[in-house]
């Protein structure tokens, strides 16, 4: 029998949220939250596992936030499967919602972080950062978690949400969880399931070129422009079905383009074919990250 507490709407979840901090004992329960679009996989599982391990309550939300998806696209997911996976990884509470409830007529409010919303993924999909950050902030305002978990697979979202939560004075600690990669370097992603061997090797090359960039900095390369050019050249030689969109480097705090190669910095690459856009990056916050690469969870198979 499932012990997962399920709330099919914000309306039905609200009394639960308001009750968390008013236990009869006066005790304060800690809440770890994971906010998703649905179609959960092993990557979300790791976020949920951390939330469950570090908090009394592990809360998962599933809602395909329309303002961060390609306009008009349909996001395919199964609520039943997502609930099952969430529970397997330790979720205790699960909330979903609908476009009607999340975006009632007259909805008009967005989080804005200026120029930062024109970098990385958002330089390709201009609505991405605004949608992702607004979506995450709304869920955290609603659920009031003690800690909220974001995967470093999506570096843009993880960093911008952390900045927004701090700026907006949320009482929530933003926890970054390492990217999970297959042996060939490809990050796990629902969009990459069933990808053929050829394109797969191209995406593995994206990771290899990021690593090449990191090691070049480590071995003394100091000029941004020439390093990015080197990376582009190297990657282009390994792409056939994918087109290179950019190789770039931004400051991990301000999202300004880097003028040097000193941490904190993000090395980031985007490639695209007819079916998918693939983004990958290394977030190098410290000399330590530069030396060993960012923390990564490696899969065996």
């Amino acid at each position: 029998m499932s012990s997962l507490n399920f709330y099919p709407s914000l309306k039905e979840a609200r009394p639960f949220i308001e009750s968390i901090r008013t236990q009869p004992s006066g005790q304060k329960l800690s809440v770890g939250s994971v906010h998703t679009l649905g179609a959960l996989h092993r990557g979300h599982g790791e976020l949920i596992r951390r939330a469950a391990e570090e908090n009394d309550i592990a809360l998962v939300t599933v809602y395909p936030n329309k303002i961060q998806l390609f306009p008009g696209s349909v996001y395919e997911y199964s609520l039943e499967q997502d609930m099952r996976l969430a529970e397997e990884y330790g979720a205790t509470h699960f909330i979903t919602s609908s476009d009607q409830e999340m975006f009632p007529e007259g909805y008009n409010t967005f989080i804005n972080q200026g120029e930062a919303y024109t970098r990385l993924n958002s330089s390709v999909f201009p609505f991405a950062a605004r949608g992702q950050v607004t979506g995450a902030i709304r869920w955290m305002i609603f659920t009031q978690p003690t800690r909220s978990y974001y995967g470093m697979k999506n570096i843009e979202q993880a960093l911008l949400v952390k900045q927004a939560a701090s700026d907006l004075l949320l009482h929530t600690e933003i926890c970054h969880v390492p990217c999970i990669r297959h042996k060939d370097g490809i990050p796990i992603s629902s969009r990459l399931r069933g990808i053929a061997d050829g394109p797969r090797r191209e995406l593995a090359a994206v990771y290899e070129v990021l690593e090449f960039g990191r090691k070049s900095i480590l071995s003394g390369h100091q000029d941004v422009e020439s390093l990015l050019e080197l990376m582009k050249t190297r990657l282009s030689e390994n792409l056939s079905s994918f087109k290179l969109l950019y190789v770039t480097s931004v400051d991990s705090n301000s999202f300004a383009f880097k003028e040097n190669l000193t941490p904190p910095l993000v090395l980031h690459i985007a490639v695209q074919n007819e079916k998918i856009s693939h983004f990958d990056g290394l977030c190098l916050l410290s000399e330590e990250d530069l030396l060993h690469g960012p923390n990564t969870i490696w899969l065996d198979n």
Copy 2:
């Protein structure tokens, strides 16, 4: 002896905020909040009185939010006087902060409500809406009040904050408190203290023209453009030291310019002399408001 609990910074207020909902009894205390820039007067007093009457805790914040003030201007206020006034009207808790704490290096997050930020006061001071709404939302996220009180003296802020709080899923009820007016119709405002009789009569004319507009709609005037023209002509005849900036009408929900004169609507006027910019308006949400005027608190003297 003062019984007001004083917190000189967010850092020192945080444990208090986090303790509110975790009473040893498991009881939930309601919190009413009033967020101000300082230089409190009778108008703020009314907000505080309502917060104290309707909640267990009445929380006042004073911080001259730099992003909603004219860049480079100095906002004059006395924390000591503000605390005294807050306590007189029933405040139990009082928080202040500093630019350094509110806007640390790298601060980068703002609330955005699109076109709505170009209307009313913000058509004159383009930073106004963004600063006011971002400021209010940040304080409400931080203090997590049950209810938060906004005066209808500042119609733009009151309406936009209510929309933003709803859109961002805050668990806070936004309460609008009627504008307080002197017998001649002028709203009480710290900036109007000590104004000379001549300019004062001009600002009274602003209110009279708003009332003329309301009564014209009531008696069947249906065309927006011609009514606004009539109001402009009438007001211009009564202005000498003040310059007319605009007479306008927007939908109170969308802030779109009205194309008809059916409630909900806001009639709004701005005038300006060398010293001050004065904004006044009527928020007519219903046929009832149209019939009697919006709820107003009238002063005797």
